[in-house]
């Protein structure tokens, strides 16, 4: 019997991981705050640790955690940053 699938059966290729940095000295790290509760506290601590390792940081804030980041946010991270850290969940 032939059935019609409810799924989008397109196969998507796996995105390769970007190369990992050898060290963080001088790296520009985007800290993405998705506005989940206490995510900013997590990023504050990460920021301290990154600074201690010689990285520069800058903050980017999503409008709301439950929606995908806008292309504008992604572009800002890609234009300015070498790396990104995202604070997920509570």
């Amino acid at each position: 019997m032939e059935y019609v699938s409810p799924f989008d059966e397109r196969r998507r290729s796996t995105e390769p991981l970007a190369p990992r940095p050898v060290d963080l000295i001088g790296a520009r790290v985007a800290l993405l705050d998705i506005t989940k509760r206490r995510g900013d506290e997590f990023l504050d601590r990460i920021e301290e640790l990154l600074h201690a390792r010689g990285a520069e940081t800058f903050r980017v804030v999503k409008e709301i955690f439950s929606k995908p980041a806008s292309p504008e946010i992604v572009r800002r991270i890609a234009d300015r940053g070498d790396l990104a850290v995202e604070g997920l969940a509570d």
Partner: protein, 498 residues
């Protein structure tokens, strides 16, 4: 020197939808053909035991294909059950290929070399024989040998007729594919989906749905509507509901994956209700009415199957809620003393409209004693005070109230409009900030002086009222909100001709 015989060529349907030829299997290296059938336990054992070595054989350049003396859907089912990851081919009656290979019993494993010649065969389950034939470490778990069953090409026609389709259950097949919400579904055959589409363009794209970022085509929506049990005349309502949830302002992707219990509530207004038998009267919130149950379910299947928000996978709802199975009802406009929901939202009363609201499970509100409109409005409003969390004020989201006909009639007899009821709820459901500052309080409450009054809603507009339910009984209900999603109710006109 042994002379190898040329293996008979074949072209057989595969579970990927393409026909597969023997020449295609051995064009780059050897091929292993596993002739099997569903009814034979030794065949299942062989597939299960060879499944772990299929990747190794594949890596070594050997194409592994099972050839079932069964219909394709049966072959696919057995392959799934046995975790067999090779090519799956079907050779149903009259079994010309298995006869050409001279098969007397199954399983029979035949190794074909790169030139298309038979390099060896093993009949039945024979661990040592297969190890020698394949040069891979086949399991030495007992039994080491087990005879198989007669190949179907050796059966006489009367026996075959008795066996035809035996052991296959189409409804179980749907569960095995995962095309379900846990309840039985109607298999979406090509014919049923075509009937659901009713001549509409199956490739019409309604949008992309998160989290799978799946292309939601009319055909996939129709497949979900069939699975859910919809009749074709319900389809325009399902399509309007899907169009509504795909509006970015609804944020269906967020709702689909959140740990919250929220589901999607559908309220239907206008003439389409009567045309398709959508209930807004006794037992409106279900169960009991096919249109209500299956339209709500169809939308949920689009969200969970097509959209990828399947419970326990990407849908991380901590508890879920029965409204995530199906929640669709009509407003009883004929009984309501007030303007119907769609008219309040700017549509003409003669149009048919679906309004979708992200919401928690309904909470019933009993009131048989209130003697005036202020009292009854306060009872209804206070029932919502504890929704989301007792101390989360204001909600910052929408509460959907379903007012039963007896309550609605009382308000009407007291001369109260729907707007007056909403205003009363809004203004009387109030607390001092100090009394709310425990447990999960809002930033507004935490920052406010103790004696500042805080309301449950930001505005009367966050109180949505519809009328539905049986003629007897003073039980209304409120659906708690879906928060943190920036979601808002969305209404879409049903493209349906009266």
């Amino acid at each position: 020197m042994t002379t190898l015989t040329r293996a008979p060529e074949f072209s057989l349907p595969s579970t990927t939808g393409d026909a597969v030829r023997l020449a295609g299997l051995h064009e780059r290296g050897p091929a292993l053909l596993l002739f099997v059938s569903e009814e034979c336990p030794t065949c299942s054992l062989t597939l299960r035991r060879l499944a772990p070595v299929v990747p190794e054989l594949t890596a070594a350049g050997v194409r592994v294909a099972s050839v079932f003396e069964d219909p394709l859907e049966v072959a696919a089912r057995v392959a799934r059950r046995t975790a067999f990851a090779g090519v799956v081919l079907s050779e149903p009656s009259p079994y010309e290929t298995s006869r050409a290979y001279g098969l007397e019993s199954l399983p029979t494993s035949v190794l074909i070399d790169r030139d298309g010649r038979e390099a060896g065969r093993v009949v039945g389950w024979d661990a040592a024989g297969l190890r020698t034939l394949l040069s891979v470490p086949v399991t030495d778990e007992p039994p080491l040998r087990k005879p198989g069953c007669a190949a179907k090409n050796t059966y006489d026609p009367d026996e075959l007729r008795l066996l035809d389709g035996a052991g296959y259950d189409e409804l179980e097949e749907m569960f095995e594919r995962g095309w379900t919400d846990g309840l039985p579904v109607i298999p979406p055959t090509v014919q049923r989906v075509e009937a659901m589409l009713g001549g509409r363009d199956p490739s019409r794209l309604l949008g992309e749905m998160a989290p799978a970022m799946a292309r939601v085509t009319l055909e996939r929506v129709a497949a979900c509507a069939v699975l859910a049990g919809c009749r074709p005349e319900y389809f325009p309502v399902v399509v309007a509901a899907v169009e509504a949830v795909l509006e970015p302002a609804f944020n269906v992707g967020g709702q689909a994956v959140t740990t919250q219990p929220c589901g999607q509530v559908l309220v239907v207004n206008g003439p389409v209700r009567d045309a398709i038998g959508l209930n807004g009267s006794v037992g409106a919130l279900g169960p009991g009415w096919r249109a209500n149950m299956t339209i709500g379910r169809a939308l949920r299947l689009v969200v969970s199957l097509t959209g990828g928000g399947y419970p326990g996978r990407l849908d991380r709802s901590t508890l879920g809620n029965p409204g995530k199975v199906a929640m669709c009802f009509a407003e009883d406009e004929e009984v309501s003393p007030w303007e119907p929901l769609h008219a309040s939202r700017g549509f003409s009363e003669s149009s048919s409209v679906v309004t979708v609201i992200g919401a928690d499970a309904p909470l019933s509100i009993s009131d048989h004693r209130s003697t005036g409109p202020e009292e009854l409005a306060r009872v209804l409003g206070e029932a919502a005070a504890a929704t989301w969390s007792p101390n989360w004020w204001p909600l910052g989201g929408v509460s959907l109230f379903v007012i039963c006909p007896e309550h609605a009639r009382s308000f009407s007899e007291w001369g109260w409009s729907k707007e007056r009821v909403r205003e009363e709820m809004f203004s009387t459901v109030v607390r001092s900030a100090g009394s709310l500052r425990w447990g999960e309080a809002t930033p507004l409450v935490n920052a406010a002086p103790d004696d500042q009054h805080v309301r449950k809603w930001d505005s009367p507009d966050d109180i949505v009222i519809v009328v539905a339910g049986g003629e007897a009984g003073r039980y209304s209900a409120v659906f708690g909100p879906c928060l943190g999603m920036n979601t808002e109710p969305i209404s879409k006109e049903v493209q349906w001709n009266t």
